[in-house]
Amino acid sequence: MVRRCCALLLLLVPALAFAQPRPPAVALQNGALTATLPLEVLNDSAVRKQLGSGLTTTFLIIAREGKALSAARLEVRYDLWDEVWLVRRIEFDRRGDVQRVTSREALEAWWRGPVRLIARAPRSRLQIELTVLPFSAAEEEDARQWIAKSGGVGTANSGSLVDALIGTTISAKPIVSYRWDVEVPAR
């Protein structure tokens, strides 16, 4: 009986270890902290299903260091008729790019590109949250501009915070979410 339990545990432990994807790889580039999301997220069955829906899948990345908050987001939509992936990356300072990628391999290559997440290097550890949402956050742009024009929140960091708020205000049930504690590499 004990042996059976031990065998079961041995089987379960690796399974549990694989349940959560490995943490994003973080690095310092030109003074900013970048994160590269693990490919397991893109290959998660629920995420794959949503990616195949023909509607946008939003990946909202929020970094927390104590009370400080920064955010970036990725958006992916498969165009059913053109059979291309329309991808969009919006980094912490709202800089980003829009691309059309023609294959799953190209999508994975784009996914492996680092996302600039925080303007400066954090002290030691930070927490990274990834929430995968159905539908696009792009249509909330008007709200962002409206907020920025409302005064008092138009600073560089607030843009990132607004993005985080917009992302989390998308009124759709998240598909999946992850949270990692990440060690920041030495400068």
Binding site: E141, G152, L161, L165, S171, K173
Partner: protein
């Protein structure tokens, strides 16, 4: 902190005023297919989505439609996806639903302990939310549903009488090709006296995709047994209450029972007429009292998701009413009634995303609530109740395809 609070406040306002983005993609929907609907009528789902084949929709419009469907009490979860249509650029919108069971229940047991005044002394009491509803719902035809069950309807209005009832009714959806609906119920209230069967009529007219105007007419007739007093009059207690409420509501929440995101605002006038007779003591005169009331109810709630599992909420509600009594006597005279409440809530899901994927949930809720009530010109009121109350309660809530159970308790002071 102040800046963050300002930002949140601005965000809340902006969320309500979101405009459509012209730059976002629009999808030409050639056909809409509802999948996995076993009992629920697909026509009802299509009607409630507010979408129609042959139109173009942006993602935000599809997302709003998904939310509208998620708020329906007979759907547990909804997923949207696109498939290729018959010609280039055309799409088939696939709505995959997960239904609730035809048998449903809602159990809410949250006793709240409170020490209240009782004339010149104090009494320990248990009040709070204790509601039970259970029944069956059958979809008939393309746009109709018959329901039967037990309903324990309570409201906070002190000028109306609420009681449980056995209810049988029919709802017609998609009236006149719009999202309008009408429900007609026959109910038999559970009261100590004999009750007669009373009608209830509810009609909802959509003003926009998230705004609805609801008309509710509810009548309760109670005919009591006859009492013969020795050397006194023959007395039969009876009462009739008719309630007419017109409510405008704006709803962007993500769920009907356990919302974690969105706004719900409702407001509207309430008219009530009540006739009741009773025996006054010691004179043993039969008094026939007629009350008519004009009131206004308003409520606003905002739910905000802090993380995958945590959400907070804020609720503000108020009611005002003028109760006119005929005949007006020194003991039973006309009065103004005022009610206000502020509530803050925190909710934490005990389940992961994967466990909640099917639409069920298990949450812990903590609520802080402050209420104030005032009755002008009613001197005995404060002898029996506390006008200003603060309350803290905690409960466990479980939602499944069968219904919702909320168990908890609280303390009020």
């Amino acid at each position: 902190m102040k800046r963050f609070a300002t930002l949140i406040f601005v965000m809340l306002i902006a969320a309500a005023a979101l405009a459509q983005d012209a730059a976002s993609p629009r999808f030409s929907i050639e056909r809409i297919e509802v999948r996995n609907a076993k009992r629920v009528s697909t026509d009802v789902i299509l009607s409630e989505s507010g979408l129609r084949a042959g139109a173009q929709y942006s993602e935000s419009e599809l997302r709003d439609a998904s939310l509208r469907l998620s708020r329906l009490p007979f759907l547990l979860s909804v997923e949207f996806s696109l498939e290729k249509g018959s010609a280039r650029g055309l799409h088939v919108l696939v709505i995959t639903v997960s239904e609730t069971k035809p048998f449903f229940y809602q159990l809410d047991i949250r006793p709240v302990f409170q020490t209240k005044p009782l004339l010149d002394s104090q009494a320990d009491t248990f009040t709070g939310e204790n509601d039970l509803s259970l029944g069956f719902r059958w979809f008939v035809g393309r746009r109709g549903a018959i329901h039967a069950g037990l309903q324990n309807r309570r409201d906070h209005r002190e000028y109306t009488e609420s009681s449980g009832a056995l209810v049988v009714g029919y709802t017609q959806y998609d009236l006149f090709g719009t999202r309008a609906f009408a429900a007609f119920n026959l109910k038999r209230p559970f009261v100590p006296d004999d009750a007669s069967i009373s009608p209830q009529f509810v009609a909802g007219i959509p003003l926009s995709l998230n705004q609805t105007l609801t008309l509710d007419y509810d009548e309760t007739r109670v005919v009591g047994s006859t009492i013969n007093f020795v050397d006194g009059p023959e007395f039969q207690r009876n009462s009739t209450q008719r309630l007419l409420a017109l409510t405008w509501s704006y709803n962007t929440t993500n769920q009907p029972v356990l919302p974690t995101k969105g706004v719900i605002i409702s407001a509207g006038p309430v008219l009530s007429w009540a006739d009741r007779n009773f025996l006054s003591f010691p004179s043993q005169n039969i008094v026939r009292l007629h009350e008519h009331t004009f009131g206004v109810d308003a409520r606003a709630a905002r739910y905000f998701e802090l993380s995958d599992r945590d959400s907070v909420s804020g609720v503000v509600e108020t009611s005002l009413a003028r109760v006119i009594r005929d005949p007006s006597t020194p003991d039973l005279h006309s009065y103004n009634w005022r009610f206000g409440a502020v509530q803050a809530g925190y909710s934490h899901s005990l389940w992961s995303h994967e466990e909640r994927a099917g639409g069920g949930d298990s949450r812990i809720e903590v609520l802080l609530r402050a209420t104030t009530r005032a009755v002008d010109g009613y001197p005995y009121y404060s002898n029996y109740d506390i006008p200003n109350t603060a309350q803290i309660s905690a409960s466990w809530v479980r939602r499944s395809s069968w219904g919702t159970i909320r168990l908890g308790g609280g303390y009020a002071w």
